[in-house]
Amino acid sequence: MTQTETRQHPVEELDEVVIRFAGDSGDGMQLTGDRFTSASAVMGNDLSTLPEFPAEIRAPAGTIAGVSVFQVRISDFDISTPGDAPDVLVAMNPAALKSQLPRVVQGGIIIINTDAFNDRNLEKAGYESNPLEDGTLEGYRVYPVPMTDLTRRSTEHLGVKPRDAERSKNFFALGVVSWMFTRPVEPTIDWIHQKFAGKELVIAANEAAFKAGYNYGETAEIFEAHYEIKSAHMPPGEYTNVNGNTALSWGIVATGGLAKLPVFLGSYPITPASDILHELSRRKNFGIRTFQAEDEIAACGAALGAAYGGNLAYTTTSGPGLALKTETIGLAVSLEVPLVIVDVQRGGPSTGLPTKPEAADLLMAMYGRNSESPIPIVAAKSPSDCFFAAIEAARIALKYRTPVMLLSDGFLANSSEPWLLPDVDSLPDISVEKATQPNGMDEDGNPVFLPYLRDPETLARPWAVPGTPGLEHRVGGLEKEDPTGNVSYDPANHAHMIELRAAKVAGIAKDIPEVEVHGNPDADLLVLGWGSTWGAIDAAAHRAADRGMDVAYAHLTHLNPFPSNLGEVLSRYDRILVPEMNCGQLSRLVRAEYLVDAQSLSKMNGVPFTSGEILAAIAEQLGA
């Protein structure tokens, strides 16, 4: 692809690689990572990504707080996590190097933009001496590249001003890494043309920088080899690369069609859930109404109002917002209307670590309401699973006329993976009948409507929406008489209603899949997971098996009620290990429910589990 004379480098084959692009917030690392991912997807690799943003909108340039990171793992086999430690680090400045170096595997590759290693930047990063010179990087394969300068020179001929040229240096870096891992260049060049359409100079500069980087890899004598990762044996079909928030949003879009209902979203912006609001706000042509409320209470209240009005209603938030919605969710429990509450969990307590993932709202989801106020809980296990989890949550909400909690987290929200697109026609019909007719008789034999007369199978009450003639009735948060719905202070009725509400939710266990055991079902140890730990557990279990360790594992997507066979499954294992991004919340639930000595493997530092950590815990449990 170039005219210059090139030396042929040896090509080594790898089965996987984890690359971390790190630079200043303004350096375009997210875009670079995204592009590399797309090019890899086209090559048929399996892949998984994880972006990490600074907490500040624009942290001061050059500081550690301002470092923006994108990790991508590509492989020729089926993977489920973005990888533990990176094999390759691209460090665009000293702060990036300083903050990311501790994660890189020993002997890993480090590609450095040496132009950024001036005194000012070193100081800002807190380096007292230059790490390029003081031995800090011993034990790594370091490739120092004066990227800023090379970028500038490669674009000079286009008439790009030096300051503007600098902005293209991420494309230079992308070029180097693309060469190193033998990625095709066309998709990226096409993309540049599309993305910057109309800005000819920008296109030219970025393309020139990208090619210069690619050629630098080919030409410069510093690289010993370049690498190839064969395409993975992925099931055939059409794939897209999707992150959890997008998949969840699309799942919500899908439910409108599957339920044949208009979708309503009441929301208030909060990290890391806001992107669901953003994505759905763009989908007005799907008939989706989004309402940015004055706060979370109003967001949930408006969703409840829309649900009562016959829409398929959602409210999306993160922990602090969920705390505010609890009273309204309690009302939804009492009214028994369908409503899906999405909690994209983040680090706490209080404001905590808003941009870091955690999965510590499970017990709040379960118990965070006054009195006995049971609701079903569904949790997504991977970015693309967010799509199906949204459908499942809506299915339960509609069928059982109940608020449903749908748990995601900041890790799922932002990390992405290839997704074999489902056939949209194969998605389940989740539509339900609304009430249209009186369902009872009064003493005089006149037809009457009994709003709390339940379906004997599901215990769901009729969904009688305003606008339906003949079904006028009143509901409210006071205790209701069964089945008239009239206010009742009668002790026996209250006890009965408490039982009915509990039985309705418990009964959903009959309507959800049994929990499946993976790995070696006859092992002594069961690893029980939920939520975003799926990838790390799955990978760890495979690695354990490779090392001859017997381990079974199971993953819960329904946290309330539990699958009906869970107690029986747990009773089969001597040891149960529960990895969680909290201090042992699921383990408490299963201990209380089944009296099994489930041990918590807790991680609460704002960073998702690596498979290595889980592997180590498995090994410890097995005394291996």
Binding site: A41, V42, G44, S231, P236, G237, E238, Y239, T240, N241, W250, V253, A254, G257, F264, G266, K284, N285, F286, G287, I288, R289, F291, A293, E294, D295, I297, A298, G301, A302, L304, G305, A306, A307, Y308, G309, G310, A313, E327, T328, L331, L335, L420, L421, P422, V424, V465, P466, G467, T468, P469, G470, E472, H473, R474, V475, G476, G477, L478, V487
Partner: protein
């Protein structure tokens, strides 16, 4: 409407026994609404009452319509979602001064600025009734109640001023002793295309008896209630001997004989600028001074739920109806061959 239903008051009464204290002003408000709805020719199934918590908030139980007795303060938010979900509904919101102005103050002001078609009836008895007598955000300074045995210190809100400051398009006031005036005022709220707030002076004869008496007792009305009528000079008194004068210091009461009829302000409820309506809301600062009632402001503004729906229609017209399969592919795809 083509198929206007013919209903009578009885059709709008639910089978639930009314549980307010005997003598409570809430009864007459209920009656006014039940008399009005047949006149409006609306349908029971398209009428919804949403309330918070409080004595006033029991209202929906007594209406033979759809109704939701929700949670304290949140009715305007819930009603907003409901109004957005179905354009055919008449959504009424009922609440007390505590429900609407204390815990629910934020939802109220946001409902006002959004101009979503919810009709809010604020039963202002200047007290917390249901919780047995604490002072409310409309109680006068110095009020002795269970929670303020030494007198309250909080300066009260004027609900009309507050709503006008919150960009309300429709604000009105009436009182529980005058069914005709209530009915006329509620009708105006219903006719308004957008959110509407009606403050109703309501007597709580158990915890704050007679609080509005200086204004609403029959004998006092002529001299103490100033009826606002669009396009007419603002006059009151048994013989219309008083009027309201507006100048660059604000609004004040004057004797017509003294200032001349020309000096009396003519009420313009449609004024784009709410400033004059605001002035009128400051005329009386206690329930013991001549106080305007009627429609303070009824200005035309785009209604929120219609605008929301229009955006959906525009998007569909521009982008076509939603195609899920295409959406899933919108981020780019690649194919793995079998």
């Amino acid at each position: 409407m083509t198929d206007v239903q013919t209903t009578t008051r009885k059709d709008w009464m639910s089978d639930q026994e009314v549980r307010w204290c005997p003598g409570c002003g809430d009864y007459s408000i209920l009656a006014a609404v039940q008399f009005l709805l047949p006149e409006l020719g609306v349908k029971r199934e398209n009428t919804v009452f949403v309330s918070g918590i409080g004595c006033a908030a029991r209202f929906p139980y007594y209406m033979n319509t759809y109704g939701m007795h929700s949670i304290h303060g949140r009715a305007p938010a819930i009603a907003t979602g409901l109004a957005l979900s179905n354009p055919d509904l008449d959504v009424w919101v009922i609440g007390g001064d505590g429900d609407m102005l204390s815990i629910g103050g934020n939802h109220l002001i946001h409902a006002m600025r959004r101009n979503v078609r919810v009709k809010i009836l604020l039963f202002n008895n200047m007290i917390y009734g249901l919780t047995k007598g604490q002072y409310s955000p409309t109680s006068e300074v110095g009020k002795v109640t269970k929670s303020s045995p030494f007198g309250s210190l909080d300066r009260p809100f004027d609900p009309v001023s507050l709503a006008l400051g919150a960009e309300a398009g429709f604000v009105a006031r009436t009182h529980d002793m005058d069914r005709k005036h209530m009915m006329a005022t509620f009708r105006r709220a219903w006719e308004h295309d957008g959110s509407a707030l009606v403050e109703i002076f309501q007597n709580c004869n158990v915890f704050n008896d007679g609080a509005w008496g200086d204004l609403t007792k029959k004998a006092n009305r002529a001299n103490m209630l100033i009826e606002l009528k669009h396009g007419e000079p603002i006059r009151f008194g048994a013989n219309d001997e008083f009027g309201v004068v507006i100048d660059c210091d604000g609004a004040r009461v004057a004797e017509v004989a003294e200032v001349g009829l020309d000096a009396i302000a003519v009420h313009d409820e449609k004024a784009e600028d709410p400033s004059v309506a605001f002035m009128l809301s400051r005329l009386a600062l206690t329930p013991h001074q001549p106080t305007p009632i009627g429609v303070f402001r009824a200005a035309d503004r785009p209604e929120y739920s219609q605008a929301t729906n229009q955006q959906l229609l525009d998007a569909q017209a521009k982008l076509g109806g939603g195609d899920l399969a295409a959406l899933l592919r919108s981020g780019g795809t690649w194919t793995v061959e079998g």
